[in-house]
């Protein structure tokens, strides 16, 4: 089966190793992985900031690049949801594009959801020893139902102990442009998330969306915690 990897712009820029970890997981699951070279961003920042026009342009670009594969997989609930659930809204006025958006919508998956529910990966390739606490990112959780999937994958690693934090489902305060428009409010929300995560005394804070992870890491470091790693679940599942 051919799966196209949607790397996401944040992973491309900030944490390429997450992209390679996702690649490794998909290959471990038996996929032939393709990485379309011209990919950039799904257009979610444009759509969420009210720029309909740019959102349409980028949606069409992604559809043209990613249609025709068996599956499209992204290491982000937020980007996967944007392609799956928002593209049909964005392109509602153009019947031909809408049809293509709807087809792609059925093929796009968030990484952990894909590994657990589509390819049913039973042996993750990594070796990770230590305790982790898992932050449920909002869009993945509430729009795609990503909750049990990452935990099921973590449970495949014998060395991992999951320590659930209080209010794991509460927003971390990132919110994309929100974090650079209302920085003080955003950081105050992030502080609650960090406090809840740190209170578990887990060795690492883990999540499935890089935006949230950068927010949490940025707050954690500002609070003086230089030690606790903040990791994408793909990194944990492929750790050597």
């Amino acid at each position: 089966m051919r799966a196209a990897l949607f790397v996401t712009c944040l992973v491309d820029l900030m944490r390429p190793r997450i992209g390679f970890a996702a690649l490794e997981l998909l290959e471990a699951a038996g996929c032939e992985v393709v990485v379309p070279a011209t990919q950039t961003c799904c257009g979610q920042p444009a759509w969420n900031s009210g720029d309909h026009c740019a959102a349409v342009t980028l949606a069409k670009k992604v559809i043209a690049e990613f249609e025709g594969y068996d599956y499209v997989v992204a290491p982000s609930g937020s980007c996967a949801d944007h392609i799956r659930n928002e593209y049909p809204k964005i392109l509602a006025a153009e019947p031909e594009w809408l049809a293509r958006a709807v087809t792609l919508s059925g093929q796009v998956f968030e990484l952990t959801d894909f590994l657990v529910n589509v390819v049913k990966l039973e042996r993750v390739p990594g070796h990770f020893a230590g305790s982790v606490t898992y932050h449920d990112s909002c869009t993945g959780l509430r729009s795609l139902g990503i909750k049990a999937q990452p935990r099921a994958l973590l449970a495949q690693l014998p060395g991992v102990e999951l320590k659930e934090m209080r209010a794991a489902e509460d927003c971390c305060g990132f919110g994309g442009a929100f974090s650079i428009k209302f920085g003080a409010v955003s950081a105050a929300i992030a502080e609650r998330k960090c406090n809840n995560a740190v209170a578990t005394e887990a060795d690492a804070i883990v999540g499935g969306d890089l935006g949230c992870l950068l927010n949490i890491e940025g707050k954690l470091r500002r609070l003086g915690d230089d030690r606790t790693p903040v990791l994408h679940i793909a990194e944990v599942l492929t750790a050597k």
């Binding site: 944490r15 444009a46 003080a184 929300i189």
Partner: protein
């Protein structure tokens, strides 16, 4: 009420640097969220009930004019007078006229957010009529120089017990009390004489029942009963969108409203009031008026924001909102705070008067999943952002930045080039550390956080290099 939503950003900073408020908001969050979560488990099919409730509200909104006429006919047949108000001024004019017609000197009020929209207390005072708030929270605010409520069902959620104790001591001139029961007894003693001497009662209305011409009131303190039954005149002020077809529909909505609002299976009082006092009735007002208010609502009918009119004012969206929990209700600057307020304020007071509010949300959709009538609040906030862009209301710098970014993202070559430079620049800024601690491009981010450093090369570069090695 005058809007201070334009100062939203400054309001948030004030809220964040107010330790008392922060403490009070933390306590409120636990109370509301946990109690609601527990009480909705009593329903076999909470989500199905939400769907049914949304359908009831949609049915009305799709033909609102017809349902309002039906309500008017039913209410008139039971002796009530139905008046219409298009805006805040007209609400005040109607109330003052009614008060003058019946020679009213003093009026007792139970909670009405519409009266906040209208700034009614000030208008009554100006007309020489004494308004007395009798909901405990609203009473506390009134004796504190007519402070604004910070929550639609818990107006003093921002205050601590100590603050109320200080206020009562100062205003009532009594020895300071710190027991809640002693404070409420003191308020009750003050209010009792007002109930007995008022000539007119003013209430809001949670629902208007079209088939019977009734108003349904959902309260906890019992003041609502006193306000609506003791004085000679009762005035109900509520929005035109509050009408529902039948009493059966009321029972469906009542399965959701108290649970979503306070986590109660049922509120202490549910009053269904129908008509004036008829021969043989033990109580009820001699004169009953309904003031049904538009104040921006009719414009939403048939628009892409019509879903917002389903709102039953439970407050669950704000109770669960990470932003509201962090800044409290006053920061939003007008009558309605939290996600529902961030949608309603620009729609009712003008997009340009509340530019920040639709952006003051992480779009986490916690509000959307708790809303008892399934209002897609994040989607409505996003549409408001789109309206701002369409009307050219966003700052030029922001628009330029987004346009530049969108152009890059649409062109893989330019994008790759910009990314190549960008990650190297950031890596250099970090200077070998894990994070960047000073970064003038995103000052807001840096207010309370570091900026994690990138790895230094993009995925696309590394992937291409890997391909070459193979």
């Amino acid at each position: 009420m005058e809007s201070r939503s334009r100062q939203f950003k400054a309001n948030t900073l004030a809220a964040l640097s107010n330790p008392g408020l922060q403490q009070n908001m933390r306590q409120a969050k636990g109370k509301f969220v946990d109690k609601r979560a527990k009480s909705i488990r009593e329903l076999d099919d909470f989500d199905g009930t939400r769907t049914a409730a949304a359908a009831i509200r949609n049915r009305v909104l799709d033909n609102l004019d017809l349902w309002l006429e039906k309500f008017e006919a039913s209410a008139s047949a039971r002796g009530a007078t139905v008046l219409w108000a298009k805006d805040a001024d007209e609400i005040c004019r109607h109330v003052v006229d009614i008060a003058r017609r019946h020679e009213v000197k003093k009026t007792v009020k139970s909670k009405s957010m519409l009266s906040e929209e209208a700034g009614l207390n000030l208008a009554l005072e100006a007309a020489g009529i004494q308004p007395v708030e009798t909901d405990l929270g609203e009473y506390i605010l009134q004796i504190n120089n007519n402070e604004a409520p910070s929550h639609i069902i818990a107006p003093v959620v921002h205050k601590s017990l100590d603050e109320v104790a200080d206020l009562f001591e100062k205003v009532h001139g009594t020895p300071r009390k710190t027991e809640i029961t002693a404070l409420t007894r003191e308020a009750r003693e003050v209010l009792r004489s007002h109930f007995l001497t008022a000539d007119m009662g003013i209430s809001g209305g949670n629902f208007l029942v079209a088939e019977t011409g009734s108003v349904a009131l959902v309260t906890n303190e019992g003041n609502g009963r006193m306000v609506t039954t003791l004085p000679r005149v009762h005035v109900v002020i509520t929005g035109i969108e509050k009408v529902i077809p039948t009493l059966e529909d009321l029972s469906t909505l009542m399965r959701l409203l108290p649970r979503s609002a306070t986590g109660q299976s049922i509120s202490n009082y549910v009053s269904v009031l129908t008509g004036t006092q008829a021969a043989g009735d033990l109580d009820g007002p001699e004169h009953l008026y309904y003031i049904l208010v538009d104040n921006g609502r009719a414009d939403l009918i048939g628009s892409e924001f019509q879903d917002m009119l389903r709102c039953i004012r439970c407050g669950a969206c704000m109770n669960h909102c990470p932003v509201y929990q962090t800044i409290g209700g006053h920061a939003y600057g007008w009558v309605y705070p939290g996600p529902m307020g961030a949608v309603l304020t620009p729609l009712y007071t003008g997009l340009e008067n509340a530019l920040d509010l639709p952006h003051a949300a992480t779009l986490c959709n916690q509000c959307g999943v708790v809303c008892p009538v399934k209002i897609p609040l994040p989607e409505l906030l996003r549409k408001l952002r789109e309206k701002q862009v369409e009307r050219g209301l966003r700052p030029q710098g922001e628009r330029r930045a987004f346009k530049f970014w969108a152009r890059l993202a649409a062109s893989p070559t330019l994008y790759a080039l910009a990314a190549w430079f960008g990650v190297r620049y950031l890596k250099q800024l970090a200077g070998g550390r894990k994070t960047i601690t000073s970064f003038s491009l995103v000052p807001e981010w840096m207010l309370g956080r570091d900026f994690p450093a990138p790895e230094g090369k993009t995925f696309r570069e590394l992937y291409a290099e890997r391909g070459e090695k193979k």
